[in-house]
Amino acid sequence: MKRIIFAFLSALSFALPAQAVDSVTATPGTITIPDRGNALITIRWRATVSVSSPITGSRLTVIGDVGTLFVDGVPVDLSNSQISRTISFTPPTSETVTIIDRIRVSRAAAQRIANGATSTFQRSFTNTGTGSFATGLVNLQTGPNSALGFSEFRLSFDDASTFRTVREDASLTAKLSISSSGRGVLRGVWEVSGPDGQTQFRGIGRETKSLAGNRRTTLQSPSLPTDRNGIYLVRFVPDGRLTSIPLEDNPVIRYTVTGASNGVLVRLLAPQVDASLSPTARFAWDGPDGAIGYRLEFLIPNAAGSGIRIAAKDIPTEAVRLSPLTVAKLAGQKGVTWRVIAYDGEGNPIGQSEQRSLGIE
């Protein structure tokens, strides 16, 4: 049973003399959710705040309280976390603050919306230090299944983890796993912040994917920067730019780049990332001082995403070709990576390379 509810958008305002959230508007005013639910929707709230007399400091935080889904005027408990944004400005003035809100509408919520006549998602916005608030409303309706919906929207690194610590110049990518229904063009930007400035995101690559029908899609990011030490964040921002989103509402994953400068790294030279294995391929690397031998290891992923060693070779040199026996062991294996561990004269490991992927045909 589907209902189409006509759009309206309203805002209630309560003006107080010193400082106040005067009004809140939302874009879009009406959102259509696939009637099977599992949709990820983005709302852009714009709160107008006025300050008519000086306030303590010059910072003001606008807070959107826990959101509620109302069906036919009755709250049906679609809660969501608070959202907030802090701005700084000099009174007396009026500022418009944009806060992006992403909410997931479950199958249960979609069912409730479909069963009701009118449905709204609403948040009360207030600012620090006053009791004044304004309420923003978005109308929700269920519609035909051609609207784009997601039953999975998972951001992770290439090994399915969401937290990584890697050495300098390691190869690292992120991936976004999506299960979608309906159709639409998913446009977005891969963004990275760091190593200088926690929230200073910059685009490193764009994605345009036309999604149609029911499908699972994995979007892979460009190579993430690992050339400088530091702490980085990665996110995928659909449909333009999302700003200052609480961590729990927008998938953000963190990685740390460290090492290399103190000489413990084994730097891989050849073959290149994802190069196909040929029987005559030469494996080469740069080892640290004090290394008298190396172990070249070939790994396949285990259930944990880390590696199981399927073949290895110990050698006293920094380059080697594989024996036919080793090549035979690798044949037919999927997801093979290789790495090199350096050993000192006592047989202790003193350095290790990144894990580099190898194509096996």
Partner: protein, 611 residues
């Protein structure tokens, strides 16, 4: 191929009879030479210890092989195999017991940062530290990896704790009396079949037991439903309404075949993706899988039945029981020179109401048949996918049924003849998706037919000094419903990079997209330029970026930014970074106003410890 057969046959031979022929060398201490008697061997041999090729550390004299290994082997039994390097015949086998001291390899890698930052005149000081501790035994029978994150900034803390663990994983891989045991605790992935329990990446505990002859395998797991970091609910098993558990029994009955048959089951409670209700479900499945003809033919099939109640004991949803069946078959054609080809067939019949908390991403309500082909020939790679899908499979009779046909083609050529394009690559991707209404029940919505055509062409060349690329994209979304909400997008993108030395590089990216729907058309574009220069290599570095974004999209805003940083590495593991950024409108994301002016001084230190 002959060699591969040889290895497989030998592996089988060793599995059946190996230990009976082996010399037992007893206990070998760390640093001690390993001596193996190999009477009559030629000088050209391969030597492996636990599948590690140690030939470079082995010497043969008077029928005695001496191995002085690079590093000692840990406790427990180890196997030495000696092959003739010409004929690949196994000429000797031996076992020894490693020294009893368990040698652990430790590494700890972390970055610590203290930053003073001014955003439009407001100053904040933050400290953050992030990294990971890894421990593993020499033979990797035990591994542990624990990540942590500490920060003074409230909004980034894990569970509101100034310091907390992020993800962690402990693995144990042991052989006891011939039975192999593998255990995982922490964040990891469970995939038993392709329908009921698949791609489950969460925090939890799992184990796998494989009998000595490889015939029986049992898997067990318990996992948290919510994806969380932090020390809270460490095992992931603490809350019964946020936990699922399951098992697999697998039988590989034939010694000469990888054919296996398995049964899986799970039950659990938790909030499904995007839901705030605690749901409850269970299910079971049966699978077969295997490969034949030297692994060229691979196949698998799973039939599953699952029950799910979206709100547990709540009244809004009823418990639904539904079925899913998935199957695949693929074939690698025999390789001819540089040509290889794989063809695949896939079928999925998944009821509309099928839902497994252990495979939430499964597409439901579809009957899909798919053909795939992957062809590699010299420098050309070609991929083709053709599929047809019927929606609302075994679903509500009031819902319409559509057919969706999709055809996708991707081709890439590496190296385009002679001259300037000799090491460039050309990539073409094209797809057509077409939806047509099959049945419209009374009261159901009108057809929402459409056809989406997507074409992308990219030409790239990566060189040591110069790199460049150009791309074209065309998306035509033809809405064939009564709404007729068509959308047309055309995109042109390009980049260029110049890096004359390791100390200097500059790159520029630009794109422009023109979009047109039935009401209006608009253009978005962006230019981004980045520069890095090591004034004194390994000591003083500067980097700078600027970007310009323009749009006349409805409700869009333009923007510009410029940022620069100067980094002084005053110790090998410590640096001081001065940076500044100005951003306006579209790029102003930090202050909450239309302009950001940010200045920062950051002190960074690394800890890298390996033992």
């Amino acid at each position: 191929m002959a060699l591969r057969n040889w290895v497989l046959a030998n592996a089988l031979y060793m599995g059946v009879t190996g230990s009976a022929l082996a010399q037992d060398l007893g206990k070998i201490e760390a640093g001690q030479s390993i001596l193996v008697s190999v009477p009559g061997a030629s000088s050209d041999i391969y030597v492996e210890v636990d599948a590690i090729d140690v030939s470079a550390y082995a010497s043969l004299e008077n029928g005695v092989l001496t191995i002085d290994p690079l590093t000692s082997f840990g406790p427990g039994k180890h196997q030495i195999l000696v092959y003739d390097a010409v004929s690949f015949d196994l000429i000797a086998e031996a076992t020894f017991t490693g020294s009893q001291s368990i040698s652990l390899n430790w590494s700890f890698d972390a970055v610590h940062e203290a930053e003073a930052r001014s955003v439009n005149g407001d100053q904040t000081e933050t400290f953050q530290s992030s990294g990971a501790l890894s421990v593993e035994t020499d033979d990797q029978s035990f591994t542990a990896n624990v990540g942590y994150y500490a920060t003074s900034a409230d909004n980034f803390q894990i569970d509101g704790n100034p310091i907390d663990i992020s993800e962690y994983l402990f693995t144990v891989d042991e052989s006891i009396g011939g039975t192999n045991l593998r255990g995982n605790l922490g964040h990891h992935t469970i995939s038993y079949d392709n329908a009921l329990i698949s791609d489950l990446t969460k925090r939890g505990l799992s184990g796998e037991f494989t009998s000595a002859n490889g015939v029986f395998q049992i898997g067990l797991f318990g996992m948290r439903v919510a994806e969380e970091q932090g020390v809270d609910n460490f095992s992931g098993l603490a809350q019964s309404n946020d936990r699922l558990q399951g098992a697999q029994i697998k039988l590989t009955p034939f010694k000469f075949s990888s054919f296996s048959i398995s049964a899986q089951g799970y039950e659990g409670e938790g909030a499904a993706f995007g839901s705030f209700d605690i749901g409850e479900g269970d299910g079971y499945s049966f699978s077969i899988s295997g490969a034949s003809r030297d692994g060229r033919v691979r196949y698998g099939a799973t039939a599953a039945r699952a029950t799910w109640d979206e709100d547990g004991s709540g009244g809004l949803f009823q418990s639904e029981t539904a079925n899913a069946a998935v199957a695949f078959l693929s074939y690698d054609f025999p390789e001819k020179g540089l040509t290889s080809a794989t063809i695949g067939l896939e079928a999925e019949r998944v009821d509309q109401d099928f839902f497994s908390l252990a495979n939430e991403a499964l597409i439901t309500g579809v009957e899909t048949y798919r053909v795939t082909a992957d062809i590699l020939r010299n420098n050309l790679s070609l991929g083709i996918v053709a599929e047809t899908e019927e929606t609302n499979f075994n679903g509500d009779a009031d819902e319409p049924i559509d057919r969706i046909n999709t055809f996708e083609l991707s081709a890439s050529i590496n190296g385009l003849g002679q001259g300037v394009l000799s090491d460039a690559s050309l990539t073409i991707s094209a797809s057509v998706t077409d939806q047509k209404r099959l049945e419209t029940p009374a009261l159901a919505l009108d057809p929402a037919d459409y056809q989406v055509r997507d074409l992308g062409i990219n030409l790239d060349k990566y060189g040591d000094i110069w790199g460049w690329g150009i791309g074209l994209r065309y998306i035509d979304d033809d809405d064939q419903s009564a709404d007729d909400f068509d959308l047309l997008q055309q995109e042109l993108s390009g980049y260029i990079s110049y890096s004359p030395s390791a100390d200097f590089d500059i790159s520029a990216n630009a794109w422009i997209v023109r979009s047109e729907d039935i009401f209006e058309d608009w253009v978005d574009s962006e230019l981004d330029v980045a520069l890095n220069y090591a004034i004194v290599p390994e000591k003083w570095d500067i980097s700078s970026r600027f970007g310009v974004y323009n749009t006349n999209a409805p409700g869009g805003e333009d923007g510009q930014y410029f940022e620069a940083s100067l980094s002084w590495t005053f110790l090998p593991s410590a640096a001081l970074v001065f940076s500044g950024r100005y951003a306006a409108d579209y790029y102003a994301s930090e202050s909450g106003t239309d302009e950001d002016e940010i200045f920062s001084i950051l002190l960074r230190a690394n800890t890298n410890f390996l033992k």
